[in-house]
């Protein structure tokens, strides 16, 4: 197990693994998203209260979950890079940040479009919405901080520290609907015991979520290849890789 972990510290190994994994992850993601779209849009019945507006769940929830997962990956990668001085950790964190920011923005905008017909407003300073907006600002902050230093190594360390501090926001987002009175609905799928959704609505949602996560994996691999090349451009293996 540790051999595998140490291999992850090797840039040529990470570059090769990312190149090999990306097409498989992208293919799996396309299949899951296609099934989720067809089953969710055409075959799932309308919700008894929200009608067809509930179908926004098939993009809103996967995007919101992915925004949290990406942040956790980014903070973990930053922590690994800081503790074990594994440079690839910074590369993973740098590659994850723009992906996470785009999915956080998607979660906020789709939530806003869902809120208009259900709550009568596009935006309200609700704990869940506000903490998700803070997550978006954290992503922007991490990206800005990384590029604010002339020395890239210092930028990486500062961004990793900010990502680690900001990870406290993740449980706040998740439990905001439990801890405070919130307009946002509580947990529907990710709750202990039986999810309060019918299987015909749940399966497309799970498929879309898996599809979004595989998509994140694929895009992360593609971005990671660029990050590794940028960071290792003086290395002999990069010259050999470019020549071939």
């Amino acid at each position: 197990m540790w051999t595998w972990f140490y291999k992850l510290a090797s840039p040529p190994y990470v570059y090769g693994a990312a190149a090999a994994l990306a097409p498989w992850l992208l293919g799996g993601s396309a299949i899951c998203i296609l099934y989720g779209l067809v089953a969710g849009l055409a075959f799932a019945p309308p919700d008894y209260q929200q009608g067809d507006a509930f179908r926004i769940i098939y993009v809103h929830v996967p995007a919101a979950w992915l925004s949290l997962l990406t942040y956790i990956v980014m903070a973990l990668a930053g922590a690994i890079a800081l503790i074990w001085r594994i440079k690839m950790g910074h590369a993973v964190a740098a590659a994850s940040a723009p992906i996470g920011a785009s999915f956080t923005l998607l979660a906020l905008v789709t939530g806003s479009l869902w809120g208009r017909p259900m709550w009568g407003t596009y935006w309200v300073w609700d704990p869940r919405l506000t903490s998700e907006l803070i997550l978006l600002f954290l992503y922007f902050g991490v990206m800005s901080l990384r590029s604010a230093f002339e020395d890239p190594a210092r930028g990486d360390r500062a961004a990793a520290l900010l990502a680690l501090v900001g990870v406290v926001n993740v449980p706040i987002i998740h439990y905001s609907v439990v801890w405070w009175n919130s307009l946002h609905q509580g947990a529907t799928v990710a709750k202990f015991g039986k999810p309060s959704m019918d299987a015909s609505m749940l399966w497309p949602l799970l498929s879309m979520t898996l599809g979004f996560m595989l998509f994140y994996g694929a895009v992360l691999c593609m971005r990671l290849q660029g990050e590794v090349l940028n960071r290792e451009r003086q290395a002999k293996w990069v010259r050999e890789a470019i020549e071939t």
Partner: protein
């Protein structure tokens, strides 16, 4: 669901379809941006290699 019912989304079409269109745009942007990032890095590395070769 019938054809008309599908597109009108029970009267919520103006909220539902923009969400899916935006999701498509975000997925597309991520793919394009990741590909561009990788290609730009390869070009930079190749340029560096060419410069190193030109030096005596």
């Amino acid at each position: 669901m019938t054809g008309n019912g599908f597109w009108s989304m029970g009267g919520y079409a103006r909220f539902v379809w923009p969400c899916f269109a935006l999701a498509g745009a975000v997925l597309g942007w991520n793919l394009w941006s990741a590909r561009r990032h990788h290609v730009a890095a390869r070009v930079r590395a190749a340029r560096l290699l060419a410069m190193a070769r030109q030096q005596p």
